[in-house]
């Protein structure tokens, strides 16, 4: 169940994590796991296609960076990505409130 819920909201989650600052893929996954208290523990390789999709939609940009001799692709949210994040947050809050009103 978590998998399906996660899949439907992966773009929102990735944008939210990256809105705090540029991160490489591994750090994005770590942040996602840490901020969800371990709930969002998805196959790590599936995050990269999602990051590429967001980049293709001009919601993210990326560039290679070398830290401590290790080469990593670092992702940042674009201005368009921040606008999309705000819209997705509004949609999520509305949906969350509606679900809460029904099930509680």
């Amino acid at each position: 169940m978590h998998g399906e819920l996660l899949k439907g909201n992966l773009e929102l989650l990735l944008l939210a994590v990256l809105a705090d600052g540029p991160r490489h893929g591994y750090a994005v996954i770590e942040a996602l796991r840490a901020r969800s208290g371990g709930t969002f523990d998805l196959p790590e390789g599936t995050v990269y296609p999602a990051l590429h999709r967001l980049e293709a939609g001009a919601l993210l940009t990326s560039a290679w960076s070398t830290e401590s001799g290790r080469r990593r692709r670092v992702y940042s949210v674009t201005r368009r990505g921040r606008r999309e994040l705000a819209a997705l947050r509004d949609t999520w809050r509305g949906f969350n409130d509606a679900v809460a009103a029904v099930v509680t």
Binding site: H24, G25, G45, T46, Y48, H52, A56, R70, R71
Partner: protein, 191 residues
């Protein structure tokens, strides 16, 4: 499974152009090295991961397409210069070429200049349509020059044989065809 074997399997399932494939594999390698032991298992089945990348298609690369058009235009310029040094001089006075040769050359020149302008614009504004237009203009240039060369050979004895002209034309068509595919994001069907 070792990282190398995992990456080889991932590569085997990917349908992507070399540059994109290299980027995907480099990111996966960087991740797996960072993750350490058990990283390969947590990354997911290589076929599943590749399938998700394949679903995305290949993003358009307008700048690469424009670069291909520019490189192709340099090749065309060199090929025309090379041929001009090898072909015998025209036996007709200037402005009296038969078979519409002058019109063909003038059209080719216009297409060539359009290629340069469109490719430069595509490099700046990164629009796939502009990049595609640059590649199309270069393709038209090559075809017009090829027709010109074949027709001219009919009128001038001692011209290079048709197979040589065809070979040069085919080589000159490669950059605009590849550039158009890259510019629009067309992807290879086989990995």
């Amino acid at each position: 499974m070792t990282t190398e074997r995992y990456l080889a399997e991932l590569s085997g399932h990917l349908h992507a152009w070399p540059l994109r494939r290299r980027r995907i594999l480099a990111e996966a390698r960087s991740h797996l090295e960072e993750a350490g032991e058990g990283g390969v298992e947590r990354f997911g089945d290589p076929a599943d991961v590749a399938a998700r990348f394949n679903e995305l298609g290949t993003p358009p690369q307008p700048r690469l397409g424009a670069l291909a058009a520019l490189l192709g235009s340099v090749f065309v310029f060199g090929a025309v210069q090379g041929l001009e040094n090898r072909i015998p001089p025209a036996p007709w006075p200037e402005g009296a070429a038969p078979g519409g040769l002058e019109t063909l050359f003038a059209l080719a020149t216009v297409c060539y200049l359009a290629t340069l302008v469109l490719a430069a614009a595509a490099l700046v504004v990164r629009l796939p349509a502009l990049s595609l237009a640059a590649c199309s203009a270069l393709g038209a240039t090559v075809l017009l020059l090829a027709v010109h060369a074949f027709r001219r050979a009919d009128f001038v004895a001692g011209s290079p044989p048709a197979w040589q002209l065809a070979l040069v034309a085919l080589a000159a068509l490669t950059p605009p065809v590849v550039g158009a595919a890259v510019a629009t994001g067309a992807r290879p069907q086989r990995s």
